[in-house]
Amino acid sequence: MPPVIEISGLRKTYRKLLRQPHNALDGLDMEVAAGQVHGFLGPNGSGKTTTLRALLGLIGTDGGAMRVFGEEVPRRLPQVIGRIGAVVESPQFFKHFSGRLTLQVLAESAGIASARVDEVLEQVGLRDQAKQSVKGYSLGMRQRLAVAQALLKRPELLVLDEPANGLDPAGIHHMRELLQWLAHEQGVTVLVSSHLLSEVQQLCDSMTIVSRGRRIVDGKVADIIAGHSGSQLSVRFADAGEIGRAMEVLASAGDGVSVAAERERLVVTGAPEAAWVTRTLADAGLYLSELTTETKNLESVFLELTGTAPQAGQPVQVGQAVPAPPVGASAETATGGEQ
C-alpha cells in the first residue's frame, strides 16, 4: 500500500527585512504509512509545525514535493481535504460560542449532518460541556474540542499538532486510546507531532525525528529505540575490587570493545554479545554477579539523535541541535540502519 503522506526535499525559508533568512525546512523527507499512528518529533524550532502547515496548504514552500493520498498538495488539496482532519497548534475559537455551536458552524460549512456533532462531542468526552461557552473551557477542554472538530469529517488521515497539550493524565490516556482505536480499528492514519516522548513511545507505531528542518531518523518506534540500545552492557561483581582487572581483560580481549568504570560497575560498549562478556571474564577467573543490557527509552534516544541533551550548567538553546545530514544523503532508518 502506498504511503498516505509522502514528503521529499521540502524547503521553507522565512525572510524578513533586515534579518537573516531562516531555513525552517531544509530538504525534509517523510513518509507516513497507512493505518498507523505516526509520531513526528523534533526539538523546538525543528520544523514540525511548519511541515504540517505546509502539508495543509496554510503556508507556501520554497521547494520540494508533497503528496497526500497520492495527490500532489497543495495544488490538489481541495480534492483530498474532505478525507483529512487536522488540528494545527492550539486553535482558539470564538469565546462566546458554545462548543456545540463551534462545531455546528464548521459542520454546516462542509455540509456535515449536525448529528455528527454530538457523536464527536461524545467521542472526545465533551458531551456534558457542549452547551458551555468556549470562554469557560480549560486548555484541555479546548484541545478536546479541537480534536472533535478534526474528527467531524470522519477523516481517513488525522493530523494533530501536540494533541496532548493541556490534557490531564486521564485525558491523555483517553486520547491515546481514541487515536489507537481510530488507527487500528478504523484504519485511520494518524500523524501526531508531540513533545511528550513517553506518550509518543506508548502511542505511536512509527515515527520521524527531525532536527533543523531535516529528517534525522524514521522507522518503527521499537526499532529506533532498539537500534540505539542493546550494545551497552552493565556488569557488576560481588567484589568491587575486581573491576580494575576486569577492565583490562575485556579491553584486551576484543577489538572495538570499550570499557568504562562507573561507580561500582563496568559499562561495556561494543561487545559482540552478552555471552562473550561472561565467557571472557570466566576464562580469566572473574565471575560477575550481574549482567544487564542497558535499555534506552525514547527520551534518551531523542536527545542523542537530536544533540539536545543538556550539559551540566549549560542550558540548551532553541535551535541548538545536532547538524542534520547533508541534503542528498539519506537519513538513518531504523529498519535499515545507517544508510
Binding site: R53, L56, L58, I59, I81, V88, E89, F93, F94, L101
Partner: protein, 337 residues
Amino acid sequence: MTLFRAELHRIARRRLSLLFGIFAVGGLLLITAIMWFNSSTGPSEADLAAAQQMADDANAQYEDCAADERYFENDPDYSWVADDPWYGEMPHEQACAEMFLVGAEAEDYIYVYTFQFDEEGVFLLIGVAIVTGLLSMLLAASAIGAEWSSGGMANLLVWHPNRMKVWGAKLAAALALCAVAVVAMLVLAFALLYLTAAVRGDTGTLNAAWWEDTLARLGRTAVMALGMTVIGSALAMLGRHTAIAGGVIVGYLTVGELLVSFVRFGVNSIKYPDLLSLYTWIGAWIEGRMELEYWDPVTGLPDQLVLTATHAGLVLGAIMLVFAALATWSFAKRDAA
C-alpha cells in the same frame, strides 16, 4: 453555498452583531422620540394666550420707554443705557426701539417646530442608512479580524483550502448581512418617522417625484453602505486584526480629514481642495449632484465644478476596488499561519 450559510451564521451569532443591532435600533428609537416630543402641529389656545400676553407686555414696555425721556435714568435695571455713549447719541425713541421690541406679536413668543417628513425625513433616512453601513463595516472588519487573530482562519482553511472560495463566502455573507440590515433599518425608520410626522407633524406630499428622488438617494446610500462593508472586510483581511482595520478607519476619519482641512485652507494652488475630501465625493454620490465653487483671486470671477453621482461612483468604486484587490492578492499569496 454551505460555506456562505455557515459564514452568515457565524457573523449573525457573534455577540458584537447583537450589540450593534441593539445600538442601531436604540438609536433609531431615540431619534424618533426626540422628533415626537419636539414636533407639534401648532400651538394650543393656552400657548397662544400666554404668547399674546408676553407680546402685550413688551409693547407696553416700549411705549412706557418712548413716553418717558428719563426712563433709563429712573430704572436701575437700565441705568447703564443712559451712561452708554452709543445709546447716548441716539434719539431717545430709537434707543427704546433698540432695547425693546417694537410692535411685538404673539408669534414672536411662540416656537413651534413641525416635523416635515417629506423634507427632513429623507435626511434622517439617509443618516440611518449611513450609520447602518458604518456598523456593518465595523462588524465585517471585526468578524474577519477576530478570525485572523484567534487562529480561526487557519482552522477554517484546513477545512476549505480554496482561499478564494473562503474570501468570497466571507465577503458575500458580510454584504448579505449589510443589505438586510440596511433595508430592515430603512423600513423601520420609515415606519417610525412617518408615524411621528402623521401624529405630531406633517407628512407633506409624497408624490411620484418625491418617491423617485428619495428612492434614488436611498438606493445610492445603500450601495455605499455595501461598499463600506467591502472596505471594512478588505482592511481586516490586509491587517489580519480587528484593531488594525478599526485603526485605519478611525485614523482616516480623524487625522486624514484633518490633513485634508489643512490642505484646504493652507494650499492655494489647488483650485478645488474639497476634491481631496472623501466627504465631498460621498455627498455627491448620495445627492446625485454637487457644485464646487472657485473664486479667482485675480479676476474675482467665479468658476464652478459639477460633480455627478457618476463621477462620485467612479471615484468611490475605484477606492473600494483597490482595497478589495489588495485584500484578495494578500489572502491568496501570504502564508496563513
